[in-house]
Amino acid sequence: MQRCIKIMRVEKAWQPLSLAANNPMSPCMRLGFRRLVRADAIYFGTLFTPTKDSFEAGTKDDARHKETTQERAFGGQERGSGVSAKVMIGLHHVAKHFASAQAIRDFSMEIYQGEFVTLLGASGSGKTTILRMIAGFESVSTGHIIIDGVDMTQMPANQRPVNSVFQNYALFPHLNVFDNVAFGLRIKKVPEQTIRTRVYDALAMVGLEKFASRRIRQLSGGQQQRVAIVRALINEPKVLLLDEPLSALDLKLRKEMQLELKRLHRELGITFLYVTHDQEEAMSLSDRIGVLAQGELLQYASPEELYSSPSSPAVAGFIGETNLLTGSIVDVTKGYTIVQTPYFLTKTPMRADHVLGAPVVLSVRPEALHLGAFGDQALCRGVVTERIFGGSLVHLWIRVAPDLTLHCVSHGVNQTYALGEEVDVQWDPNHSLAFCQTDKPPSSTLPGIAGVLGSNGSDGP
């Protein structure tokens, strides 16, 4: 590739840029040309101003360039976001007892090759403990951890085919960027020449090739994050473990890194296991999400499924915002269950566990609520007590009764109501869910539940 670039520099240096960019060329030639565009832009100044076309061509070339360098950096591992049916990680009845308490009890889950799976839970839910058990930093009390078909339960951390990105990056402060990234390859005694190319190619993937000789402390948070990810990925792990890697970054950078992670996952095809307490992050990144509470897996499904059919009020409250109303089943008919809440009757899709007279928690997403003047069709009527304008979305809180305030999200600015205005409330029964109340009442510490359930109706956002 180097040779190619040199040839390009000699032969094509005089050619006007827009013309050259439209010529059909091999990816290698195009790459060479792309480099040339940058160089010429400096030397010739305004004489050959790169046109929009040439830059777009360059962007495409960049993508192609990344593919080829990735193959070199990561040994041409099979690519693509195709999630295969092969189980990469199997957790079988894993439990973890700490000296004082039981952190994880009877935890089982499977992660397919190439999947992006997130463990979502509040702090103390055991999600990090599970990650650390897979990495080998934490012993397993009972149960088995299978990675790529091999029982790794007793395997020391340094012999497991997984690599981690730590919450605070854990980049070695005594080494520069290059040596940090090269650390794993040097342990494996890869020839120094190979290390050089692979480290530079890997750094190029995240746009940090110019920072190779920098000290870690000279990097910004986002750059450190990228180095930490590259340091793990360069070892071609079967699974990349990420422990709240973005929690130290500010919002804008976090969004940027989310996209970067998604891109890396898609392009490398490595299985990602991600841990976070941020449900939005989990939703936007993952193929599947495992929701954890108190060391137990509440539900393990795709983001869409978790959102549309959560298995419990706790999951409903954790995944997105929801209104929770208590009531009891008064009738079961034609695929629908009729629920009597303290203020109105409503129907909801029937579920298998619905029996007459059972107490239920009804969950209605804020965006399922309709406001207007519905007359007899209205479920209830209330007063707007709070209003938050959030750009494309408007949040409204409607007090239906002293102990019941509903949260409503609506698109569009046309449907706005002033504070104190009376309004009818209605929702499509198919967009509500009724959970039979088991012995486990929804924990009020979960976000999204507070403020709607029970008597704390006057709470605002």
Partner: protein
């Protein structure tokens, strides 16, 4: 500070450039002869010997102190307190008194010889006191805590951030490689501080060579003491001190580069 530190030192520097009187005392007349004398073979050897002595004592302290500090840093909190207590206890006694205690232990008719004799392991008392070896042991013993404590502080800082060691293991390093590639380099500030704290007092020591080594061991500390007190040649002694101080300052400057790279602190 000015009164007790700067003025005496500047005065000493001043008289190191003066001539000595025929019967001792100082003649206020500028000369470089005192420094010239230091390059004579005997005096030069004293300084070279002292540097070697200090270097070796520092190495011994490092080799013995590092594992000890590592054990303390990785111990359970309860055991840590006991071990740290054991390191600090010697500070409660004057090092002069501890040196006398050691003399008693290794003297010809001392404790060790009497025990060995009564056990019939030896038939003649071993000659341990008043040797170079005794001087090394005495200096090593009195300096060891100064090495252990900074090393411990440095290693404890690393143990408080287990993610560095976990990252090394995660990247495939076994216990040995984790130590040599991560723990040891990160503890360099502790090594530098401890070495300095051992090296500098050892370079200036005079009573341990005097008591443990007898008259046979002359280090630069004894030499300076002799010039001031016995030979009454203050300018020459002052010149020798000035050289020691310059060496010391050079070493501090050198090692402060490593100490300033306090790797862990700058992280947070």
């Amino acid at each position: 500070m000015v009164l007790f530190f700067a003025i005496p030192n500047l005065y000493m520097l001043f008289i190191s450039f003066m001539q000595v009187g025929g019967y001792g005392g100082i003649v206020y007349h500028f000369t470089l002869a005192n420094y010239g004398l230091l390059f004579h073979w005997v005096e030069f050897k004293v300084i070279a010997d002292s540097l070697l002595f200090s270097f070796l004592v520092t190495i011994f302290c490092l080799v013995v102190g590092y594992p000890f500090a590592y054990i303390i840093a990785t111990s359970s909190p309860k055991r840590k307190i006991v071990l740290l207590f054991l390191v600090i206890v010697p500070f409660w006694t004057s090092s002069l008194i501890r040196t006398f205690a050691m003399m008693f232990l290794i003297a010809t008719d001392g404790f060790i010889n009497s025990v060995l004799l009564s056990l019939h392991l030896i038939h003649q008392p071993l000659n341990m006191l008043y040797t170079m070896g005794a001087t090394y042991v005495g200096q090593f013993y009195s300096m060891l805590p100064y090495m252990i404590l900074p090393l411990y502080a440095s290693l404890q800082g690393i143990m408080d951030h287990p993610e560095y060691m976990e990252a090394a293991k995660d990247l495939g390093a076994g216990a040995a490689k984790t130590f040599w590639k991560v723990v040891a380099p990160l503890s360099i500030p502790g090594i530098a501080t401890g070495s300095l704290l051992v090296f500098i007092p050892t370079l200036g020591t005079f009573f341990i060579p005097l008591l443990m080594g007898g008259g046979g061991v002359v280090l630069v500390g004894n030499f300076i003491e002799n010039q001031f007190l016995a030979a009454d040649n203050w300018p020459f002694g002052a010149a020798a001190s000035a050289v020691v101080i310059v060496i010391t300052l050079l070493l501090i400057g050198l090692s402060s580069r490593y100490m300033n790279n306090a790797f862990l602190e700058e992280e947070r």
